[in-house]
Amino acid sequence: MKKKRVFDEKRISFILIIALLVSTISYGYVDLGYRPPSADRIYFIHYSMSSTWANRAYSAANTWNNVNAGVKFIKGGYCHQEMDVQDSYFSVMYDSFLAYGWPADANAGFARFNTGDYGDIVMNSLRSWGDGNSTSYLDGQGLLTHEFGHSIGLGDVYSASDVQTGNYTDVTMYGHSDYSMLNSYGQRTLHQDDINGIRALWP
């Protein structure tokens, strides 16, 4: 009697083809090419920010924490020292971009000066900010969620080739936001590609 083989060529080929198909599904994120020095990201609220801004920052950080990836944002409280983008503190700041020599109409920026630096987030006070979906202001929490994404190594998404699961303008890490685009409020909520990104960079 001929014994039936459990792993014949057909089955092995089938398994391998499935494995190949799975491996061709790439993650939909852009790698900034930078990793902060620690998976515990202690951030400080600069004392030039109101409690309204601080609460936006806490909510934005918690949005990433809720993914349960291998990186965590930890509140460090208020900091009172000068805002120096070259220091090793990770600060969140609200200020005029012109004082930094940065582009006047950019919404927000993430700056990392030295290799291994934790970086800083600055929200541009020359823009109009608020809470919610509006054509007259940007949603502060939404843009902070975007900037916190940079601080863990995620880059800006600019095209359909950068995402896998939907419209690239819907992802939190989409690099453009404006009042008229009404997308900053949506940036509060992580898209599957954002989640894939943090999980891939911080397994």
Binding site: E9, S13, L16, I17, A19, L20, V22, S23, T24, L32, G33, Y34, R35, P37, S38, A39, H46, Y47, S48, S50, T52, W53, G70, Y78, E82, M83, D84, V85, Q86, Y94, D95, S96, F97, L98, A99, Y100, G101, W102, P103, A104, D105, A106, N107, A108, G109, F110, A111, R112, F113, T115, G116, S125, G155, D156, G175, H176, D178, M181, A200, P203
Partner: protein, 174 residues
């Protein structure tokens, strides 16, 4: 016999393809823990979220739009600026304290060749560019001409200008 050999060859080729692809997909060699971080690569160090404007709005939002020659680097500096906090509800503002901010900048000497929009009284102005790596600033080369969308920046003097936008503020002129 020939058929079996063909099947085995196909299986062998699939194995060869699958191993490296799965290896890279699941980052088997890249567990980004503290002791294994690769921070040596040159990457943009300053990234922005920005609006995107049509040409008319770019011009309207700029104080001046010029074509200028990037003559030379006048200064590379980290200027400490002492200023009022911008958020009136912040602890600093409530205490009446000023804040100090520091960021590295390159101050270029820009020779104006044509004013497209706005008014300039001087033929040379200071162009303030962040001294940090960014894909949009990194294209600037001394001696070259650029069309620039600029905003007056009094933090750096009464003849100083910053870009309106990182991604749209600099256009190389051939």
């Amino acid at each position: 016999m020939k058929k079996n050999k063909l099947k085995l060859s196909i299986v062998f080729m699939l194995v060869l393809l699958a191993i490296p692809m799965l290896y890279s997909k699941f980052n088997i060699n890249e567990t980004l823990r503290d002791d294994q971080l690769d921070t040596s690569n040159e990457i943009p160090q300053l990234v922005f979220s920005e609006p995107q404007y049509e040409e008319a709005e770019l011009v309207q939002r700029s104080d001046v739009v010029v074509i200028g020659n990037l003559k030379s680097i006048k200064e590379k500096t980290v200027k400490k600026i002492i200023k009022e906090p911008e958020d009136p509800e912040s602890p600093a503002a409530k205490k009446g304290e000023k804040i100090k901010v520091k960021a590295p900048v390159i101050i270029y000497n820009l020779k104006i060749e044509e004013v497209i929009h706005g008014t300039l009284t001087k033929i040379n102005i200071d162009l303030i560019i962040p001294d940090m790596s960014n894909e949009f600033f990194d294209i600037l080369v001394e001696g070259n001409d650029y069309k620039l969308y600029l905003v007056k920046n009094e933090f750096f003097g009464n003849n100083a200008y910053s870009l309106l936008s990182a991604s749209q503020g600099i256009v190389p002129v051939e």
